[in-house]
Amino acid sequence: MRDPLALVGRTVDERESRFSHEDTCLYALATGLGADPLDPRQLRYVWEENLRALPAMSLVLAYPGFWLKEPKFGVDWARVLHVEEGFEIHAPLPTAGTVHGRTVVTRIIDRGAAKGALLYSSREVRHGADNRLLATVDSCTLLRGDGGFGGPQGPLSPPVSMPTREPDAVCDLPTLPQQALLYRLCGDFNPLHADPEIARQAGFDRPILHGRCTLAVAQHALLRVCCDYEATRLKSMRARFTAPFYPGETLRTSVWLDGEHVFFSAQALKRGVTVLDQGTARLVVTTG
């Protein structure tokens, strides 16, 4: 990586993007909503009549693409891993319109030449019309080939203390074999999620599902378990990606409720492998 410390605080991507009702429906379908087409609560997200946007759509709005691949940053991009993602909603997302996104590198932690470097970035998503802040999206990426540059070794985000009791709810959601093919049309065209040969070269048996899509499937679980599919009640969500999840697998999301705070983790049901861990979310608690 070229001069990693100079990257901190730098705007690495800024863009305006337009999206339509169809894009909003496609996002919901690509993350598993509408799997029961007779459930009116799901139809609200996949049909333009009384359409609503899912909070996790903030992950793809004004999406900067794979900016780490740009030669000017000098990152060993073939060896990066997406390790953490989260969003916070400040105002309900529109279902169509123009949004403005600005991605800033907020922190780089040097874990040594063997482990690599952790790069934290944050994207503000603003409404194109009045510039109001809609969402903040935080990502953490492990640059496996870029550690050992003598940078700061902390502060690392403290791990989330997950409840030790049995989960309060468990929700199983199957995904489609073609889930990644559909999801990539929302803007993340990384061939790792579509091209079997490239997936093999990266060390996977077959194309893996986008981490952000897996997180959105867990969002679906939270909406079902905690919110009666009322998406405006979900204010924030974040989790760590701990293992690949494959399209066609069933995601089992375990949920712990603590007032407005929610903890969750998720595993690939058949393999028993945890793919999302240290998940946290915040809800608006309804009274009465």
């Binding site: 379908l29 799997a35 087409p37 074999p177």
Partner: protein, 289 residues
């Protein structure tokens, strides 16, 4: 009284449509391509590397939408059914581009009060930059509430059916419960395919799958089982939508090859009801045996 016969000979919709590679990919995904994400032959239609285009893409480009909902026509659009489709592909379409289309009403055939009326439309698709004629799409729509309005114009010759019956089952394909929800993003947003209430008004238990989407699934089976996914050889397709098919059902396709022609029909595995009949695919070159 509806003004359907007066529409004959008029252009009811004309527009310029630009479409992108992701649009072409979404179209193929909405027809079940990519269901096996490791089948690289089908992946060629849903991945931007050397993206291949399905011959039926003209069915959704420049879709005239609900011209029948135009004020002044006062048609009962909930009770319309797509009855037949005929595609002639003059040239292969690129995976992305700009097309001009115009839709005309060629004929209105009245079956009498209570029996409905067939409306025959024709959509002509041209390439925007060089004006080349790309495709002609003829659609037959049954307006079930408008019988008795009178006839006008000349309908196309009736669809042919293979003499006897196409009996040879070549393969089947499953559809998703949310299939119609995905397919409608390609442009046909008729609520009868998404809204249980509209479906009930139209006389169905639940939203039904778009006829053109069922045709696309049949095409997928034909390409997979008989044509090695070589879609470029197809120059025309015609079919009759014989009965409703519901999202989530499995489509079984029967077919028989005869020179440059494939006769086909399809039914639901669940109800054994024929949903596509009079199917005919025309191939550009004599097909190898």
């Amino acid at each position: 009284m509806t003004g359907l016969p007066a529409l004959v000979g008029t252009c009811i919709d004309a527009r310029e449509v630009s479409y992108s590679s992701p649009d072409s990919m979404l179209y193929a995904l909405s027809l079940g391509f990519g269901q096996d994400p490791l089948d690289t032959r089908a992946l060629a239609f849903v991945h931007e590397n050397n993206l291949k285009v399905l011959p039926t893409l003209p069915l959704v480009l420049g879709y005239p939408g609900f011209f029948m909902r135009r004020p002044g026509l006062s048609l009962d659009w909930d009770r319309m059914l797509h009855a037949e489709e005929r595609l002639v592909l003059h040239r292969a379409l690129p995976p992305a581009g700009v097309v001009r289309d115009a839709t005309w009403v060629d004929a209105v055939v009245d079956r009498g009060p209570g029996k409905g009326v067939f409306v025959y439309t024709r959509k002509e698709l041209h390439s925007e930059n060089d004006g080349l004629h790309l495709a002609t799409v003829r659609s037959t729509i049954l307006c079930r509430s408008e019988g008795g309005c009178g006839s006008a114009g000349t309908p196309p010759p009736p669809l042919r059916e293979e003499p006897g019956e196409v009996r040879n089952m070549i393969g089947s394909v499953g559809t998703l419960p949310q299939q119609a929800l995905v397919y409608r993003l390609c442009g046909d947003t008729n609520p009868v395919h998404v809204s249980p209430a509209h479906a009930a008004r139209a006389g169905f238990d639940r939203p039904l799958l778009h006829g053109r989407c069922i045709l696309g699934f049949a095409l997928q089976v034909l390409l997979r089982e008989l044509l090695g996914f070589e879609a470029g050889g197809i120059s025309g397709i015609s079919v009759r939508f014989a009965a409703p098919f519901f999202p989530g059902e499995t489509l079984r396709v029967r077919a028989r090859r005869e020179g440059r022609r494939l006769w086909f029909a399809a039914d639901t595995a669940e109800r054994a009801q024929t949903v596509l009949s009079h199917g005919e695919v025309l191939l550009r070159n004599p097909a190898p045996d």
